[in-house]
Amino acid sequence: MSETVKKATRDGFGDEIVELGKENSSILVVDVDIGKSCKTGAFRKALPEQYLNVGIAEQNAAGVAAGLATCGKIPFVVTYAAFGSMRMCEMIRQEICYPHLNVKIACSHGGVTPANDGASHQSIEDMGILRTIPNMTVIMPADYWAARKLVRAAAEFDGPVYLRFTRDAIPVIYGENDTFEIGKAKQLRDGKDVAIIANGDTVRLALEAAEALSAAGISARVLDMHTIKPLDVEAVCACIDDIGRIITVEDHNILNGLGSAVADVVAESGKAVLRRVGIQDQFGMSAPYDRLLAMNGITVENIVRIAEELAK
């Protein structure tokens, strides 16, 4: 694991979508005038025939994509997470998920990664909102390589997918040859005292916490739960049965996101204790990314503290 290389996962999307578009002319990008910041520039340049920009009109973008999908296209609607989930929400429900159309919603600026943009652009509710819509798949990759692989997996998957990327650069934790499967958690480390289930930009925090815990004699299993819907229930149940002490970590409201998805399984099992680390049901502000995480206790130190408490 290298701490020195950092890349935004939106760049992983931007690089992979060009490859996919070259391989399959049915793959289209539908931009809403924020293509530059969502990294579709290379696609626009390389594949102008497969590129649409419908202006600052997200609801229409969702509908246009649905119509394209009925004609055999595989459109990726590209915007920021706050808009791709909430501005488009009912269009995603009615015209994409209800008819189960092959549309991908690919969003940069997930969580508090658009830090200095402030609360309007930070997206802390999106994954929770979208996971309640039937037929939707909800994914947040943990680094650049995971983003590339999961974008490809989403393109190959027949049905609606919501993909969430970071604006800011985050450490690269995977290699080019790592493989990913939608709905299947990746176990990055095994342990017997506590399980840390994280996704997106917080996976690296979970790994750092596990490292620190190891030095203190506590062994932690770390899962990258890149897909929160469908949740890898089997992997969560294994944590319940093998360990019984679980911490979830996410750059999302603790309501309705990864923590809630895992809590559903834990509560029904009645056999494990769970602590959720995430945004504390409060709006953000313009501030450095690390500060925003810290304001919500999304830190290595807090994960370590909770793990030590659980492992007692």
Partner: protein, 280 residues
Amino acid sequence: MKETVSVAQLQNICIDLKKNIISMIHKAQSGHPGGSLSVAEFITACYFREMNIDPKDPKWADRDRFVLSKGHVCPAQYAALAMKGYFPMEVLDTLRKEGSILQGHPDMKKCPGIDISTGSLGQGLACGVGMAIAAKLDKKDYRVFAAVGDGECNEGEIWEACQTAYKYQLDNLVVFVDYNNLQLDGTCDEIMPPIDLGAKFRAFGFDVYEINGNDMAEMVAALDLAVTTKNGRPKCIFGHTVKGKGVSYMENQCGWHGVAPNDEEYSQAMAELEEQYVKC
């Protein structure tokens, strides 16, 4: 291919269609008769003259598409689909019933011949724009016919879709605006003044054909013009219509937006429609 059918024949098909609308809503004791009747001439002209479709192959890739953006008036489209042979006529009796392919609002996964699920107003037109773009990208000749309501034009997404239709030069898109001037809660002028709705479409770059939308001869002429004018501009057939057209007690009555006729009203409606057949 365009079917050779006279205006008089189409008028009579439209009366059959309207009888089926009334009959299925009466059976279901639920549905939207007013708007179904006002859009009937457009639907008849599309399905029985203009559209290149194959009821035996509903998903034929090169077919013309129909988008009922004002999805609540689906009884009119269901009647057309049954009459074209997409499914048996008896199925019309299952409208809104549990397990039916004829959902309260159109469901493309359940009902053959429905090209896009609709029901939430303002959204269908954008989907139609996507279909028309796909035709252009694939250099195919199929066209997209869409019906939107006047009240539905309150929705911002309609205008977002119009912008896109102009930008991508969708002269393969024909939008019918069913201007019956009645919404659910009152007249359009009362609920949200449309001002000059036709002029709005013109301002958004559409070629606009303003007609009496319940006059079959005018409908056919407008459609002919709309599909043959290949100038890169999307088409709008702006139809002045009467909500509930053809059933005297429903005409121009806001109260008949989403109410089913009782037995007596049903008999009267059917008798009145029976009188409207023309000699061919």
